[in-house]
């Protein structure tokens, strides 16, 4: 490069750097068209989703839906038959993509001949990221293992090993944390701790991919949910999108045909005796219920009770899975 060219080249490089810096940050996880077959079993069939930076995404689904396989494919532990993975803006096949990724496996086991302090030191060294000993001890304190830091893991209970696993996932300054069933061996207190830790991560802008059977946990902490069923994404969206449908329970008497028609005009109605369950439209802005009550009263209906009800994530999940099963049995016929 000649001296005359140098400023121009530097300017071009700076312009390119500015352009890249101006781009929106790449997602923490991006995967597209993931497929995996074990022998004759298609474990994962066309899974695509993403986890934004600082976002908490729950992965839900029945046993054998392919959740753990998808997680292992993201982390390069299981080979991808087809599809692409990007972690923190780097291709998943490049080990460096995992430099800022913390992982708590479903099968959490750590070297039984080491102490928690030594396990964390090992993981910090392997991650290649500078973390002081004091920070490592803070991670142990966060999961409640500060007073067992020097003991061999051989004598640890499953719950304590899972707590250590959480510390391992958090120790090397992660920007993405993948937690596969993080509370499976924990008591209610431990579960509450994990929930607090996940919410703290969210505050710090760390993205979390959480696979859990405890739907209540997912509902409390997650921004978005991806529901897997038989290796495919059965539904995904924010909690508001998935649970947008609200319900109304009405206890009514003297219901005429006109009144039933008025109810049906608002949404789908299920009747059990004198209790009517009405699905409210997702685009309701608070006027549907008072309008309905006013009209029912005008039609001579005696209104005993009006109770709003929200569909839980569990009900929604079961609904989605049952719809899928019904569609499959319909196809089979």
């Amino acid at each position: 490069m000649s001296v005359a060219e140098r400023p121009a080249a530097v300017d071009a490089r700076r312009a390119a750097a500015d352009l890249v810096a101006g781009l929106p940050p790449t997602p923490a996880v991006w995967c597209s068209g993931l497929r995996k077959r074990y022998g004759r079993q298609q474990a994962v069939a066309d899974v695509s989703f993403e986890v934004g930076r600082g976002e908490i995404v729950g992965l839900l689904g029945p046993n054998g839906a392919g959740k753990t396989s998808v997680i292992k494919m993201l982390l390069g532990l299981v080979h991808v038959d087809e599809g692409e993975v990007m972690l923190l803006g780097r291709p998943g096949a490049d080990p460096a993509a995992r430099a800022r990724v913390g992982y708590l496996p479903e099968l959490f086991r750590y070297q039984p001949w080491l102490s928690p302090t030594e396990v964390l030191a090992l993981h910090v060294r392997l991650s290649g990221i500078g973390v002081t000993v004091a920070e490592q001890q803070d991670s142990l304190a966060l999961v409640g293992l500060a007073d067992r830091a020097g003991d061999r893991l051989g004598g640890f209970s499953k719950g304590m090993q899972q707590r250590l696993g959480l510390a391992v996932a958090l120790v090397a300054g992660p920007e993405l944390v993948v937690l596969d069933e993080p509370t499976s061996a924990l008591d209610p207190l431990g579960r509450a701790d994990v929930r607090d830790i996940v919410l703290t991560l969210k505050e710090r802008g760390v993205a979390v991919l959480l696979n859990s059977h405890l739907i209540g946990e997912v509902e409390r902490v997650c921004d978005r949910v991806v529901i897997l069923d038989r290796g495919q994404v059965a539904a995904s969206g924010t909690l508001a999108e998935l649970l947008g449908q609200r319900e109304l329970h009405l206890r009514l008497s003297d219901v005429s045909a006109e009144a039933e028609a008025r109810l049906a005009a608002t949404g789908q109605v299920d009747r059990t005796g004198d209790v009517f369950t009405l699905a409210l439209p997702a685009d309701d802005h608070g006027t549907a219920v008072p309008d309905l009550v006013r009209d029912l009263a005008a039609l001579g209906v005696r209104v005993h009770a009006v109770e709003p009800a929200r569909i839980t994530l569990e009900e929604r999940l079961l609904g989605i899975l049952r719809e899928g099963a019904a569609a499959r049995s319909g196809d089979a016929r």
């Binding site: 292992k72 299981v78 080990p95 430099a99 708590l104 099968l107 070297q111 080491l114 392997l126 290649g128």
Partner: protein
């Protein structure tokens, strides 16, 4: 994380595992027992030859044979130790799930396997070299016999251990921890027996039987390297005592040193088997 740093970290971890899992303790106890027993034997031998029951040539011959016998004991201990350590450390960690959190770090699987292999090789080789050296010193103190090429002999013992543990690492990437140890030690013993059978065949001038040893030494170089180590431990005057072919027929004497070609083949064998192990491990779904 650089590959070298990963390899050294995992190698250090493997060495720490060997010490913490009491493998080192068990090996030390066995070794001390063997050295003490052989020390007593050699002192008896010296007393016999001192009392002119044996000629000095016979005494040196006997010392060579017994030294080779004890060294075979060490190589067997090292073989058992490393083969049964390689199983749990690679296959066992895969089965238990210990490997999941480790390999989710920004490291290559081949670097992880190289670290394991290097740690095991350092442990196994370190053991045979140290135990072998102590044994040579005990023999020197009791019978005043010093092997002609101790460095070569100990290096070949270390190479033999490395060959066997490379095989154990390959097996442990494919089969269960216990099975990989059993198969590796079984093959080690089979090759040794095949070597003895081949030696007897050569001693009797039977080419077909003699070929059994040659073929087995090519397929698994442990026995070939062992023959080389024995040759470097034993007194050259044994050839004057026995004829060359009679030496072949005796399981704890060796008639010829190793060729450079054979050493190159052993090195290539280790590289190929390690390559196979790495391929198998990299392709594995964990």
């Amino acid at each position: 994380m650089t590959t070298t740093r990963t390899v050294l970290t995992i190698a250090a971890l493997t060495l720490r595992e060997a010490t913490r899992r009491r493998v080192l303790m068990a090996l030390t106890v066995l070794t001390v027992a063997l050295i003490a027993l052989s020390g007593w034997g050699f002192s008896r031998l010296a007393a016999e030859s001192g009392g002119s029951a044996l000629t000095s040539g016979e005494a040196r011959l006997t010392a060579s044979i017994v030294l080779n016998l004890v060294m075979f004991g060490f190589s067997l201990i090292a073989a058992l130790g490393t083969a049964f350590l390689a199983g749990p450390t690679v296959s066992g960690e895969t089965e238990s799930g210990i490997v999941l959190a480790v390999l989710a770090r920004p490291i290559r699987r081949s670097a992880y396997l190289m670290g394991k292999w290097l740690g095991l090789a350092a442990f196994g080789s370190g053991f045979v070299v140290l135990a072998g050296l102590v044994q040579c010193l005990v023999v020197r103190a009791t019978t005043d016999y010093w092997p002609p090429q101790p460095v070569t002999a100990l290096a070949l013992l270390a190479a033999q251990t490395t060959v066997l543990l490379t095989l154990a690492v390959l097996l442990s990437t494919a089969i269960s921890p216990m099975a990989s140890g059993v198969v590796a030690v079984g093959l080690f013993c089979t090759t040794w027996v095949a070597g003895v059978v081949g030696g007897v065949g050569e001693g009797l001038g039977n080419e077909a039987v003699g070929r059994v040893g040659t073929v087995s030494r090519v397929l698994l170089p442990t026995d070939g390297l062992w023959q080389g180590a024995m040759h470097a431990f034993q007194d050259p005057s044994v050839f004057a005592t026995f004829g060359g072919e009679d030496v072949e027929a005796f399981p704890f004497l060796s008639s010829s040193p190793l060729t450079a070609t054979y050493l190159a083949w052993a090195a290539l064998w280790v590289a190929m088997v390690w390559g196979l192990a790495a391929t198998s491990f990299v392709r594995k779904d964990l």
